[in-house]
């Protein structure tokens, strides 16, 4: 797979520079670091701040979701690598509007350690902070070891719901509780068809045969559950949905939102082909789909494959999902 870039070591930096140039109403650099993206308006006084952070190469995740009704600041690492604790601390300070800061990010070792370290750093500044980790990838550990699971596309729901909670003026405890509730209510499952190339590494993250796919593979190419011949779309849809339903079991009459997400190269056409099957499976099960998201919400550059996230809704979460939000990649009006 070929890439359009100048210097592989400047891939993340130039990406962020382009983002701030293209969308200056949405994204600005923090004064202290060009690896921290903040809202151009600065921290909002009296609002709980929400920060995230993680590696580059997943746009719109992570920095793309800085915006109204969403996040306040984001620390950005190199491709697929954690940002530093320094940068995370800068992001937390930038997001602080005086009512505390929620750290909301995916469960990856490096990110967790650095965010913990950052939390200790900003405590010295008297910024109150909480943490909610997304660990929605069912393929990455059995239910019994849930806390070891990776965070994947399901985090988009957490950004949206926590963002809406903060935007309406909830306090840190409430925003944190709703973010945690979302994290506990969403499960994801992915299938990978072909790899992407980390610019600094210069070679694909994994190898896979011309007619193979891997169910449960991670967004950085971490091995999945089964590798087998490329199946028809309907059977792929089932492979994504079945393990989620098995664990989450939304009953007849329940309401869910689903995010059917391209990892990058897989076109919208193929997402819709999969969606048909998912819609009919869920209708059969008596489950109503609310505000589905179909598109590229959490990617791995040019990787080919899809992920499915299912969020169980209730009367508390559903209005927050519907609340207005605005970033350069996603507008809920």
């Amino acid at each position: 797979m070929k890439k359009i870039l100048n210097d592989p070591f400047a891939y993340a930096d130039e990406t962020l520079e382009g983002m701030t140039l293209a969308f200056p109403r949405h994204y600005a650099f923090a004064a202290e670091s060009r690896r921290v993206i903040v809202r151009p308006s600065g921290a909002i006084r009296g609002k709980v701040g929400i920060v995230t952070g993680g590696g580059s190469g997943h746009l719109p995740v992570f920095a793309g979701y800085v915006g109204a009704g969403l996040l306040d600041a984001c620390a950005v690492g190199d491709v697929f690598a954690s940002p530093s604790a320094d940068e995370m601390a800068i992001a937390m300070r930038a997001a602080n509007g005086g009512r505390g800061v929620l750290r909301l990010y995916g469960n990856y070792g490096g990110d967790v350690m650095n965010f913990d370290l950052a939390g200790e750093i900003v405590e010295m500044d008297n910024i109150e902070s909480t943490t909610v980790l997304l660990a929605d990838d069912v393929a990455s550990a059995p239910r019994a070891e849930r806390e070891k699971r990776r965070g994947v596309a399901g985090m988009v729901y957490a950004f949206k719901i926590a963002g809406a909670s903060a935007a309406r003026g909830d306090d840190l405890a409430a925003v944190t509780r709703l973010a945690q509730k979302t994290a506990d209510s969403v499960l994801s499952m992915a299938v990978a068809l072909s790899p992407c190339t980390v610019p600094q590494a210069g070679k694909p993250t994994f190898e896979i045969g011309e007619i193979e796919m891997e169910i449960g593979m991670g967004i950085h190419g971490e091995p999945g559950v089964t590798r087998g011949p490329l199946a028809p779309a309907d059977s792929i849809a089932d492979s994504l949905l079945d393990p989620i339903l098995a664990e989450q079991g939304p009953g007849k009459g329940s309401r869910v939102s689903i995010l059917l997400n391209s990892l990058g190269a897989t076109p919208a056409e193929e997402l819709f082909i999969l969606y048909r099957r998912l819609a009919s499976r869920l209708a059969e099960a008596g489950v109503t789909i609310v505000r589905p998201l179909v598109g590229r919400y959490a990617t791995s550059m040019e990787m080919s494959g899809v992920s499915l996230s299912v969020l169980r809704l209730d009367d508390e979460l559903e209005p927050l999902l519907a609340a207005p939000a605005d970033c350069a990649f996603w507008t809920v009006a």
Binding site: G77, F80, A81, S82, P83, S84, A85, D86, E87, G109, G110, V112, M113, N114, D116, L117, S140, K148, R150, V198, Q200, A201, G218, H220, E222, P223
Partner: protein, 202 residues
């Protein structure tokens, strides 16, 4: 003979030399098999930066090590880099205000660093990570007072730990997800610790 800022500077120089001489490639290759392949670069960047700040380190060991920790943090954020920052910070706290300490404190300092790392990384002994050889090396060297002896015993204990864990699966970090495929492979972080010890020893 005792541990001073000069010893820290000398240690940085030796490890840096070892990495530039190709040590980082070994680590990259190992981490490439069961991780994201960045461990060699992470260490190289850390030690290049350390080499930069080394000449200006203050005599106060605590301050010197705190500067080292900050240097590592500024260039590296992958797990090993953060753990290394954590380890060095833990020693910095212990040695605050001291310009020279006897070598026999080294094993206990290492033990403390290991504990700080375990806390930071939510890890346990037995997970097949860098924590295991650190604990083994520190325990084995407790009570020794001569620098060469301490290093020799630590290197031996580290190699033994690597050998002992080879046929077990990784249970923490990026490698965990590879499960049984990590059986038979050395943990990259353990090997990194071993290489650093080798480097310091000469």
């Amino acid at each position: 003979m005792s541990l001073t800022t000069r010893s820290v500077q000398a240690g940085i120089a030796s490890v840096h030399r070892m990495l530039e001489a190709g040590g980082h490639e070994t680590l990259t290759e190992l981490d490439g098999k069961i991780g994201d392949g960045d461990l060699g670069i992470t260490l190289l960047k850390a030690f290049r930066k350390l080499d930069e700040v080394a000449p200006d380190l203050p005599q106060d060991l605590g301050q010197a090590l705190a500067a080292c920790a900050q240097a590592i943090a500024s260039v590296s954020s992958s797990s090993f880099g953060t753990l290394l920052t954590t380890a060095v910070l833990s020693a910095a706290k212990e040695l605050k205000g001291q310009q020279s300490v006897p070598w026999e404190r080294l094993p206990a300092l290492l033990q403390g660093a290991g504990a700080a790392m375990a806390k930071r990384g939510r890890g346990n002994l037995g997970d097949k990570t860098v924590l295991d050889p650190i604990d083994a090396a520190a325990s084995a060297a407790l009570g020794l007072s001569d620098a060469p002896d301490i290093l020799a015993v630590m290197r031996h204990a580290t190699q033994q730990t690597i050998d002992r864990f080879r046929d077990r699966p990784n249970r923490l970090g990026r490698a965990r997800i590879f499960g049984d495929r990590t059986i038979g492979l050395d943990d990259p972080g353990m090997v990194a610790f071993k290489l650093m010890l080798d480097g310091v020893s000469g």
